[in-house]
């Protein structure tokens, strides 16, 4: 059981070591001649503007929230799908009701303009 995850663990270790190694090697081996341009914050090549903290719009939050709700919904439906072969018609009805309740919420969000990016 744990053996399967040994690879995941190995991957984690490599994932941590790789950037650390890159930074360490760069710091040790690279020459250091700082100029103001080099010391500036790097932001996709352009001169960065404002502070690094930006205030997000509430829209992001609403989208994240809707995503979360349907994420959890998927989590609930996955076991149902996994056991589908052993389940009868009634389980299908249950899952449809479960979905239907959430679709009502989606319809509500949609028609009230919560999905519109303003």
């Amino acid at each position: 059981m744990l053996n399967h995850y040994a690879f995941v663990g190995l991957f984690g270790v490599v994932a941590i070591l790789f950037p650390v190694a890159a930074l360490v090697v760069g710091a040790l081996a690279g020459p250091r001649r700082p100029t103001p341009a080099k010391r500036a914050r790097y932001e996709c090549g352009l001169v960065s503007q404002g502070e690094s903290w930006v205030q997000l719009r509430v829209q992001y939050y609403i989208y994240a929230l809707l995503f979360l709700v349907f994420d959890v919904e998927t989590v609930f439906l996955y076991p149902w799908a996994a056991a589908y072969g052993q389940l009868g018609l009634f389980a299908l009805v249950e899952a449809v009701i479960f979905l239907g309740i959430l679709v009502v919420g989606l319809a509500y969000a949609w028609t009230h303009g919560d999905l519109q990016w303003r």
Partner: protein, 484 residues
């Protein structure tokens, strides 16, 4: 066993389905045609509650389970469900004109009231701790949102935030308690859990004790028992008054229903510990609630502290376990009429855009609004426990149950507390009738729905006070049929 329609037997879940279904229908209609008046949503909500009520009354008690053992259709669950549905219907009536007046009339309000009620119904009737928890969360989250319903009002938002943070904290305790009880018994079904605990004996199991303690803390937060009460005054005051009215009754009914079921079905073998713990909480809750209520100068906040104290009185009978269950049920029925009625008057009299109703505003209203003032006086007398009101009969049975179970000193503390409470309840009556108004309040016209709600509440208080026999028999018979 594979689930089939016959095993799940949905027929018995009609109350829940009717209530949640009406809420769903409101959401759907509002999503499709959201224009104009929202009055239809209130009527639809009342219709759903009426169907649920009819189903609860008609089906009667039978100690059987539905939904593969998850839901108990026993007398205890059905009776608490009835009280909850009545309270929800009155809350809808109370809110109709108020929401329009405050320009927050939206269909979601009624849908959320219905979802909260459905959650409460699940708590009252569930035979499974997981279902109890999810019901509790549905109820709580609906109430957090309802507390914030007057968007744009800072007090309403603050109330919601406080309620959310402390409520989430309480839920964590409750959930941890469930986990420990599951560890102790190996099941989440209440009946099987009770059997497992009885067989294992209660002396040695630390998981059981830990679980019980954590669950009582979680329920204590929801019931606003001292020392878990600190959120209640601010939330009750900041939330829209119609929400406060609903919350002060519905969350107590649902939480007490779950607590009584736990005490009777699961924790009966652990009674010495739970009773001692609950007795301590009852004394603290009554005393602190009453003392703090004495210092208030505003009706809504006074009623908040009074609600804390009232939960303490009810807890006195819960200490008695099975003996006190009928008294808890009967008192909650009376309390639903009384407290909802009192908040309805606050809501009728308070200024537009303002939840507060300072004592000074009451002056002179006894003669300017004779009927409403008489109703408020009646509710306050009932909360005090004056004879001829349901409050008197209810307290008699609460404290009688405690005496019967050998908790005489607790009953004495409760009576002393009632005497203290008379001071602040009766002071309001005195102000209404004996004091001249310095700045007469500009009163709103109370709508028909509010009038109906007040009349029903007043009639309930008087009838249950004068002829309590029928309701008492009903309560006794109901709690006698417990799935166990």
């Amino acid at each position: 066993m594979l689930p089939t329609l016959s095993v799940l037997n949905l027929n018995g879940a009609v109350p829940q389905i009717a209530v949640a279904g009406a809420g769903m229908l409101i959401m759907l209609i509002d999503a499709l045609f959201h224009r104009g008046s929202r009055r239809w949503a209130a009527y639809l909500a009342l219709l759903g509650l009426a169907v649920a009520l009819a189903r609860v009354v008609e089906s009667g008690a039978s100690a059987e389970t539905i939904l593969d053992g998850a839901l108990a259709r026993d007398g205890l669950g059905m009776a608490f469900a009835l009280v909850l549905i009545v309270a929800a219907a009155l809350s809808v009536l109370v809110a109709m004109d108020y929401l329009r007046r405050e320009e927050h009339e939206r269909a979601e309000y009624y849908a959320l009231i219905l979802f909260a009620t459905a959650g409460g119904l699940a708590m009252a009737m569930a035979n499974d701790l997981v279902a109890v928890f999810i019901g509790l969360e549905t109820l709580s989250i609906s109430l957090y949102v309802l507390s914030a319903f007057f968007t744009g009002d800072a007090a309403s938002r603050e109330a919601a935030l406080k309620y959310l943070l402390l409520g989430a904290f309480a839920s964590a305790f409750f959930l941890y308690g469930i986990a420990l009880l599951y560890g102790a018994s190996g099941t989440t079904r209440l009946v099987e859990m009770g059997t497992a605990i009885r067989l294992a004996g209660t002396q040695a199991d630390p998981l059981l004790w830990g679980g019980v303690a954590l669950i009582i803390v979680g329920v204590g937060f929801k019931l606003a028992l001292v020392p878990f009460h600190s959120w209640a005054p601010d939330v009750y005051q900041g939330a829209p008054t119609s929400v406060t009215a609903f919350m002060s009754v519905a969350s107590k009914v649902a939480a007490f229903a779950a607590l009584v079921r736990l005490l009777v079905v699961v924790l009966a073998p652990a009674a010495p510990l739970t009773s001692a713990l609950l007795a301590l909480l009852a004394v603290l809750t009554m005393t602190v609630g009453n003392i703090l209520a004495l210092a208030q100068d505003e009706v809504k906040r006074l009623l908040a502290y009074s609600s804390i104290a009232q939960a303490g009185y009810i807890l006195v009978a819960a200490v008695a376990g099975e003996v006190g269950a009928a008294a808890v049920l009967f008192y909650l029925l009376g309390y639903a009429f009384t407290n909802l009625g009192a908040f309805a008057v606050v809501l009728a009299w308070s200024r537009r855009g303002e939840g507060r109703l300072p004592f000074s505003d009451l002056a002179g209203l006894g003669f300017r609004r004779p009927w409403t003032a008489a109703a408020l006086s009646l509710f306050l007398l009932s909360l005090t426990g004056m004879p001829l009101t349901v409050g008197f009969v209810g307290k008699l049975y609460l404290f009688g149950a405690a005496v019967q179970a050998g908790w005489t000193w607790l009953a004495i503390v409760a009576v002393l507390n009632s005497v203290v409470s008379a001071f602040y309840y009766l002071r309001l009556v005195v102000i209404m009738y004996m004091r001249e108004a310095e700045m007469p309040l500009a009163l709103q016209r109370a709508g028909l729905a509010l009038g109906v709600a007040l009349a029903v509440c007043a009639a309930g208080v008087i009838l249950l006070g004068l002829v309590p026999g029928v309701a008492l028999d009903w309560a006794r018979q109901a709690v006698a049929v417990v799935l166990s």
